[in-house]
Symmetry: C2
Subunit: 347 residues, 2 copies
Amino acid sequence: MAAKKQPEASQSAGTSGGRATSYDVARHAGVSQSAVSRCFKQGASVAPRTREKILAAARELNYYPNAIAQGLITRRSNLVAIIISNLTNLYYPEVLAELTQRLSAQGIRVLLFSLAAESDVDEVLDQVWRYRVDGAIVAARLHPEQLAAFADRGVPVVLYNRIGEGVPVASVCCDSVSGEHALVEALVEGEHYVFGVIAGPADSYVGEERVEAARRRLQQLGRECLIVRGNFDYASGDAALKELMRMTDGKMDALICANDLMAIGAIDSARINFGIEVPQDLSVVGFDGVGPATWLAYQVTTIRQPVRRMTEAAVAMLLERIERPELSPEQRLFAGELLPGSSARLG
Amino acid sequence: MAAKKQPEASQSAGTSGGRATSYDVARHAGVSQSAVSRCFKQGASVAPRTREKILAAARELNYYPNAIAQGLITRRSNLVAIIISNLTNLYYPEVLAELTQRLSAQGIRVLLFSLAAESDVDEVLDQVWRYRVDGAIVAARLHPEQLAAFADRGVPVVLYNRIGEGVPVASVCCDSVSGEHALVEALVEGEHYVFGVIAGPADSYVGEERVEAARRRLQQLGRECLIVRGNFDYASGDAALKELMRMTDGKMDALICANDLMAIGAIDSARINFGIEVPQDLSVVGFDGVGPATWLAYQVTTIRQPVRRMTEAAVAMLLERIERPELSPEQRLFAGELLPGSSARLG
DNA sequence: ATCCTCTTTGCATTCGAAGTCATTTGTTCT
DNA sequence: AGAACAAATGACTTCGAATGCAAAGAGGAT
């Protein structure tokens, strides 16, 4: 009867599998399971000699604490969900790599969710709840109710390059408004008159913000502009350029793109499909500062997002909120840096 | 005394937190915890009326089964580790997105590990063991001992675009040899004589394989070539081109690059730094078929990897091995498709 | 040697769901 | 109505590590 109280060490714990448990190690070292547990816990009270013995046994048995079991008892999974909509966006891989490495450095693992379609969100969230993640970083469009669900469940979230629309949520963004203002001002000073704008998809937060900021500033400076919608990829930059050339009868001399990839598509299209010289005949500016923007053929004049500082902030904010869930939903805005390339004649 | 046997339902399980447990749901529905568990398990024996009652209670309490607890008892975490070295490689984001979505579709979650440096591998593996992942997909260079550790622990692995050097491991690769042969043959037929090759970093498996295949085939066809090493990025394509132009006194008329990104760097460099026409004066070919390779300015002649089929195979192989660990370490080789761009004059 | 304090250690319980087994309920057939 | 059997249900144990608590040990002071 008493036999059941202290579980038996697993019999299969030879040198083979990594399936050794703390009981196996305990038995091997001649101590209790508690001692083994303490031995792997930072700052717990274990005598040096005991610690040695236990660590030796652990090494011999190839023991690694079971994070699943730890998560169950401590109610801390040390998992953070990263939810990203379009990994193919050229800008996100860098962000993802940075976030992952920073979280790893803090002893936190990343559960990655990549959305193929927006309709997948609810399924993804279902899994997020099940895994009892400690927090989440979201670079995807969520409905207010979906954001509210995080609050309901007490799961801290930090949004990346978007804000909680209607719901107060912590977020990290690159300042679209000041970035676009800088671009517009430089273009106006550079003596441009017929402005075209390539917007992002309507459901993109940063896309709309950038275009709106550019439009406003142009208006303030007495310039009109034509706006055509793209969807952030290369092909849509090409298509939008053609459309704008048609609409302006080839008179457009400045083009503001909601991201670099469309700017690149537009530059190629202008040069190759229309024989237009960039920047002599047409100035093109983008946004983001992704790798290809700096390629010799493009050298796009753009706003470079401070990805390192932004990811650092996102991780820091999330960890803070995991420790202290009552913290307010701060919004941090980072200024981008105007990267003067050679795709635009500036003032 | 008897009170301790049946755990109390958690008191905090109001409609607020997502912290409800199966006991909360059980009490709410007036059934036992076992019933709740069965209710969420596919094909278990539960009366329709009971199921209704339980599901209603679960919905009301916002109950989601705790995957951590499930993982502990079932010894199946439903987690797969994806280990990737350089997410910034332009080719990997697509692979990662595909893998993640395919695994999700199979009810499996992705634990992402992104390596900043090769030295991180052991720390990463430490975490992989702790989380008791059901399997792993690896697109990073691992030492034989590190690969052996997976076998030791009975964790199935599938390598992506690399093979287990010395250790038999399941893998999915794109056929470098036939791809390079096709490129070389086409270039030779296109009347090229002075061949340059830009290799990848020495520690890249595919890089070495591609270059070696190209070199061999060139030799068989009676052509020599000069090889310069790059590191798969744009800047190294530029640098390598300069070096090759110096070495050949500007006489190089065909350039084989170990990946598209270096091909693009080389094309830009040739055009902009040397005023060379591509493909009139110099033919350039790459490998991978990444997005920018198809841009109007480049249209790189390359071998497109069948990413969808490869990721599908990787996931299928991994799942098979999770079910039946005794399966042999099959290697699957996928033929790439020659994508005739306009960066090379072919035969 | 005695008492007190501080450090180590082990015992027993806990986290939340799954699954075994025994029991109860329900159905069908005679 | 009762037998025979299947379906549904609940009690209890289990997975592996963390931790509160009590007991044991180690020093130190008197």
